[in-house]
Structures are given as C-alpha cells and as structure tokens.
Subunit: 482 residues, 2 copies
C-alpha cells in the first residue's frame, strides 16, 4: 500500500472520473475494498481531514447558539411515518432493522426530524424556552438504489445536522438565512468552495419541508453537486408531532422548525475536486492534518544533527499552532516529496547540511509549486503564508465558477449552453407544482435539471417560459448534476 | 422542563437507584422518554460532557500513536461469522438489517474487529508497516435482552475503539499494558475514577480474545461496573482473515492484534455515581462544559454596570482557558445557584453591588460547598483551584474504594464479605475453563461473580480453592456486579 501511494497519479485531472478514483486511493482518503455497497472505510488521512472539518463546522454552529446532542441511530416506524410527505419521500430509501420480538419496527435514521420534534414537544413549554437550537454529529443512512460512488453518493453519510425550533415563521426564515451564511463562511470563505444558494423547485424540496435551499457547487466536469442544504419546515413537523408552546399572550401555537445538514463526507468531494491537480490533492491550510511537513536530508554522518534541528523547527512551528510533522523515515527525499504532494500538504520545509549552514531552509508551496528560501528566524511568516495560501485557493475556485452562467432565451440556446458545460439562466413558468412538466421536458430533451431560483436575490422574470411559452413567473438556473 | 430541573433532588444518594434516575433527568443528562428500549437521547448538558470526555480520550490515544478512521456502521454477515468464537459470543446480541435485494446480510456493528482485520490484511505488507494503531469514535450496537438502564446497560453505546496490529506477541502484550495505563491516566487520574484492572476468567473474556483485562469500578451501591476493557486477540482474528505480514527475515507471519474500548456513555455513569451528592452532579473540572458560572446579582438600577463587569470577568477567565458562562436570565439568583449545583458546575462567582465596590467576588466551590472571597485581580488562581478540585475528587473516590477488599478463607467469610458490600479476595482453583463450575457455585449460592485476577500483579495462590478445595492456582476477586 505504502509503495503504491508513492507511485503518484497516472492520469490527468481532465480525465476527471478516473482522476478522482485514483486520488481517493493514492492519497489514502477512503478504501472501497470493503465490498459493502455504499459504505466506505475512511482511512487515517481522510479521517483526519474530516475531523478538522467537523471542528471548523461545530465551532461555527456552536458560536451561533447550537448545542450538541446525541440522538439514537434508530427511529421507530411510528415516528418516521407521522409526517406523511416526509415518509413518502424517504420510504424507498430507508434501511429497516429485522423486527425484534415484542418491539416496534425500527429504521436507521435517514435524517432526524422525527427524533428531534417529539423532543421539542417535551422540552419546550413556552416562548421563554425558544429559540431552541440543537445539533448532532454522526451518521445517517439512505438506501440509495442508484449506483453509489465513494463520498459522492453513499449509503452512510458523515454529517452534522442542526434542528432548530422557533416561535415565529420570521425567526425560522432568519435561521434559513443564517444557515446559508454558515455555508458561505465555512465552505466558501474557509474551504474555498464557491456555491450557488438555490431555492429548490417544489418538486425537489426536502420531503416534509415548506421549502429547501440547497447549495450547488460546480465540479470540474461542469456538473453541479448539492452541498449543505437548509430546510424551512414551517409547522409541518410540529403539527404532526403536536409540538406546541405557550406564546407571550398565553395562547398555544405550533413551533416553527428548520433543519440544516452539512455533510462532511460530501464537502470533502468538493475540496478534493475543486483544488486538486495533476499531482494529487491540494488541501486548504486551515484543515490540513499536516500544514508543514519537514523533510530532513541527511547522511549517516550528519543524521543526528539534522534531526535535532528538525525537531527544533517543529517545536517553533507548533508554538505558532502550525501542525507540523517530520518525516524521518528511511525513504528517499524525492519519494517523500511525492507522497506529501499527493496528499495535499500545503508546505514542505527541506533541511539539509547546506540549509543548516546558511540558517535558511528550502520552502516548497504545494499550490504554486514554488520553491524559495526562508530564514530559520522567520518561521513565523508561515502563519501569514498559510492564510495567503487559502486565499489563493479561494480565488482560483471563484475564477473557475465565474462566467459559467449564460442567459438563454431559446431551447436551442439552452441546449448549446448545457452542452458547452455551462449553467443556463432562463425564464421559467413556475417552480410550483405546475412547472414540473416543463422541468421534465428539460430533463428528457436536454439531460439537465432545473436547480431552482437564487435564494439570496429576488430575480424578477420578464418574458415567457423557455419551454411552454406561458408567462414566466421565475428566473431559474439549469445545469447538469450529480 | 426548565422549571422541573430547578426543583432539585427529592431523594438522597443513599437511595442510589432512585437518586441516579433523578440526577439523569434533573441535571438534563439523558431523556429516556423516546421509548425505544436501550436507546437514549443525550441532552445538551450530557452531550457536552461526553464531547469533553471524547476530547480527553482521543488526545491521549493519539499521543500514543493511534490514528483516526471511520469504519462503516454495518458489517457483512460474512465478516462477522469468520472468527467462530467471536460470532458465537455475539450472535444473540446482534441487530440485523432487513435483507436488501441482491446483497448480503448486514449487521449493525457490535464491535469492529471484523471490519479492521480485513483492512489490516490490505494495508499491512511487511514489518515496516507495523505497528499499525487505529481507532474510531462512534456508536456500537448490542441487542442486550436484559433490562436496559440509561447509560449503564444500553443497546447503543457511544465509545472509542482502538484496533492495533503488531509483529510480535510481546508487542501486543505491551499494548494491553499501555491500554491499562491509558485507563489509569484518563479515567483515574483525570476523571477521578479508581478501578481494579482484572484479567478476566476465560469464561468471561471477550468473544474471540485470548484474554481480556477489564477495569472494575465500584459503584455507591457496592456493585462493580465494568469500565474500559482491553483485549489480547493474539492471532485469532488475523488467522480467520488471513492477515499476514512479511517479517524482517522474509517469512510470512500472522499479525498479532489487540482492541481497547473505552465507552464514554458508560464512564459517565461512574463520574455521576462516584462524585455526585445529595444536591446533584459534581463534575470534574477538567471535563465540565462550564467550569465557572458567573451569577450577576442586580437590580434594574445597576443591571448594566453589573453585566458589563461580568463580561469583563468572563473574558479574563477565558484568557486563562477557563470555560465560563454568565447566567443573565430573569430567574432569581437562588434558582440559578440550585440549577448549576444540580448540574455539577465546579465554581460559581457571584457578583453584585457589594462585590463590585470591594473588588472582591464571592466564590462558591461545588464539592466542598465552601463560600469565600476572591479578589478581582486574583482570578488566575482559579486554574490552580480547578486542579486542586480535581485532586480532591480523586482522593475522595480513592478513599471510598480503599479498604473495600477483604481476604476470605471460607465460604462463610466470602458470603459475609459480599453481603456487607465488599469485594472478597480468595484462593481459587483456576480461571481456566475447569474453574467455571466453582464460579457458578459462587454465583448461585452467594449471588456474586468471580471478576478475575489482578492484571498488574502476579499474585501467587498458596492454599486451596475456597469452593472445591482443590489446589488453588490463582487469587481471584469476587464481587457483586452490574
């Protein structure tokens, strides 16, 4: 295994599908050889990245008032079926447990509205208990019957799910916006993944929600992948579970609830795809398990001296809270270079006899491929260099996404735009149920999807629907998707 | 709910069963009202404690070379049944999923040897890849058919499981000792829970292990509860999965593996039970989600001034990395005092007009109940006070356990010792299979269990077995257990 991973990639990123599979294997992110469809083994390098993503996300949602909980991994059938559109939407996707004698039927949770809402009913008495903002980190399970693909389409998903309860619809809507802001801050600003916040058409919303805002991220193959989505449940679940509270005026009212579900395992797909290159992964500095790898270059004669100096540099960097490792193994330096480039480590410091003498190390930067000298007394520069590094990744990703949207007035233009790997912006009759037929036509004839309307901007439609020619109600975005 | 929790306990700790149930509810640790047998809802206060325990444990095992992974929550039947004594031991306790068309049968993982060992086979080629030390945090599932009890006996367990592979038996044995040392450091030294490391009798070892060392902790009702255990698998699993490696001499050899499983949800039982008192929880300073609670005491006239000062104190404490909250809610100070005492918060700072004038706050310490003055300029003392606090908890728990072991020479003495709530130290024929009958006699006639021999001390038996009168091979410890 170790050997294999050092071989480097044998395929270019243009050949995205193959590249993605090779990167997962050779950078030791996941192992797909455990042979259970849709379930992955996440290897240490992948797990450490995901752990860092969890930390980033949990810190942010906690700072916005969410408190952790642990909910059971199983849901009684009785709960799951209580909100009728919820169960209709999830039924074919549920893993059921074999019946246990004397007990009700249990499902593996596909999502946890039907665990949180009955608890809201017990925990919330009056407006003074509101808002209540809870979350958990953990797995959810969906019996996806389509072809699975590691991290992209899986049956077990590693995620964070926030479930919030409010006294008014307005507050719940503000939460949906806060969730979008969280995606913007963490996924875009920190991890460098730009997205379009799309209010989904009614036929594509979360089962049981009033509406859903999904974040669409462009992949290198120009298809869109859905990243964190936030759902306005309104009073749908609270009505199903009779979850009420006493208002200030003393009357009883159903709760308004929302849910937000950033999936770490899926966001990792975008991190890998967006930033990676022909040499392998390029990890954002802020989540890389190793931010600086020190490669000591020594002979038997000066080994001790070089290693001792490496330890000193490591300590200095750790004082700056920079995650640093030394690879003192017996492999050749070149092998080590390849390995950490493949794994996406942002910075490499080379230290040999020459460097020691000049008190000047060789610094290699993963994204730019630049090699430069850095004085031993100036290691504190690496904090700033790390920030700059992440800004570069962000800018590059923004540039990739920029200009990918084309206004289309006719079906021909739409087809051309989609086939050229872009996203089309079109006038469309409706994102309510009456528009579904036109969306089906786009799907059948152009092999693309109506992703929704912009969530953060109220775009007014002026002309006619690009498909049915009826008065256009909305401006929608159309693209190929995962 | 909020109201209820402020009521305080209505039962004394002597009445342990009832006390335990009340503490769980009123300190808002878990909620048992979700009505799925053996599955709990862990509420924010409980979840934050468990999160802190995870941090403590994961940091320690990582520092000892363990790397994180995420394994699937499900195990194929084929894997689970590969090691015959493993599956025999777990069969009745497994949750199975309903069969999915076209795929093999799947179980919820009861433990993950049969997920890690096939990966060791793929990831380890030669002695150069060893040792390999991996872990995951997550849930495991056991269909326990006995009466379940929140946190104590549950069907979903929140734990950390370490799975390690070695080239030699000696290294694997050293790992078992390292695991015991980890329990000593975290559970005893940090969390203040003393334990007896017991090498289990062969009839009580982990299904598939060569031997098991469990840590037995004394509960207030004088029964023993098993806390983290570590298992020497030897080559049992590696043989079942054909997991070999190339030795330095070039030959092929089966791996030696070990497993260690500290369950956060279960260790919390001992934290609650060991340290709590008639007023509620007493949390170790090192894991309390709030280490210092500031209670501002204000009238409408001086509210702003007092709150502003409270914020300053909070900032000062946070600079010292002390987790601090202000309760500025409308409740009466007395209500707040009760709430945080119930929840086990180590320190309370009261700040009112008088305190402000004298620049001297009132400091309440949860375990001692002591109230004293602390000058605003001396807040940094709290770091040391926190350490002292944890040392006191440790010492008190050690004292409780000390002197609980009594040497017994006859069955009558054994009976008397057990009935007086102590642990008996007795000569015993054997902890191999031939001793099981004598253990059964003890269980039937005295309602107590042979827990094993001391793991860290080779105690020589001299006389005869307390039951069968044959030559005693071992010195064992007998006690009542959960």
């Amino acid at each position: 295994m170790a050997k294999k991973s050092q071989e480097g990639l044998t395929v270019k990123k243009e050949n995205f599908g193959e590249w993605y599979t090779q990167v997962l294997e050779k950078a030791e992110i996941v192992d797909i050889r455990n042979k259970v469809k849709g379930f992955m083994v996440v290897r240490p390098w992948g797990a450490m990245i995901i752990e860092n993503m969890y930390k980033l996300y949990e810190k942010e949602i906690q700072s916005k008032g969410h408190k952790p909980t642990f909910m059971p991994t199983v849901i009684p059938e009785k709960n799951l079926t209580k909100e009728s559109s919820h169960i209709k939407g999830f039924t074919p996707e549920v893993f059921w447990l074999e019946k246990i004698k004397g007990e009700g039927k249990l499902a593996l949770r596909p999502t946890s509205e039907t665990l949180y809402t009955p608890m809201f009913k017990l925990w919330i008495r009056s407006h003074r208990d509101l808002p209540m903002k809870l979350y958990q980190r953990g797995s959810v399970f969906r019996l996806d019957t389509k072809a699975t693909r590691p991290l992209i389409r899986t049956r077990e998903i590693l995620w964070v799910e926030c479930h919030d309860a409010f006294a008014t619809k307005k507050q719940a809507e503000a939460q949906v916006q806060e969730d979008i802001d969280t995606t913007e801050k963490i996924m875009h600003q920190n991890l460098g993944i730009p997205f379009f916040a799309m209010k989904r058409p009614s036929w594509d919303k979360f089962a049981g929600a009033e509406y859903t805002v999904g974040s669409d991220v462009l992949m290198p193959d120009n298809k869109l992948i859905q990243q964190p989505s936030t759902h306005m449940m309104g009073q749908k679940f609270s009505r199903a579970f009779e979850a009420k509270f006493k208002t200030e005026s003393g009357s009883e009212e159903y709760l308004y609830t929302t849910a937000y579900g950033p999936a770490m395992s899926r966001i990792l797909v975008s991190i890998i795809s967006q930033h990676g290159d022909n040499k392998g992964l390029i990890l954002p500095f802020c989540i890389s398990p190793i931010q600086v790898i020190i490669i000591p270059i020594y002979s038997t004669k000066n080994k001790n001296k070089i290693l001792k100096e490496s330890e000193k540099i490591k300590s200095a960097l750790e004082t700056l809270k920079i995650k640093t490792e030394i690879d003192a193994s017996e492999k050749r330096p070149g092998e080590k270079y390849n390995e950490y480039e493949l794994k996406g480590v942002p910075f490499r410091l080379e230290i040999g006899e020459q460097e020691l003498k000049n008190k000047s190390l060789t610094l290699f930067t993963r994204d730019s491929g630049k090699k430069e000298k850095i004085n031993i007394t100036q290691l504190s520069k690496l904090t700033k260099l790390g920030q700059d590094y992440d800004k570069r990744l962000l800018k590059k990703a923004d540039n990739f996404t920029k200009g990918k949207i084309t206004n289309c007035k006719t079906k021909q233009e739409l087809k051309k735009t989609i086939n050229s790997g872009k996203i089309a912006r079109v006038n469309f009759c409706s994102t309510d149920v009456q528009g579904e037929k036109c969306a089906e036509i786009i799907e059948k004839q152009i092999n693309a999807e109506v992703r929704g309307t912009l969530a953060s901007k109220n775009e007014k439609a002026t002309g006619k629907c690009i498909i049915c020619n009826k008065k256009a109600d909305v401006v929608v975005y159309v693209g190929k998707s995962y």
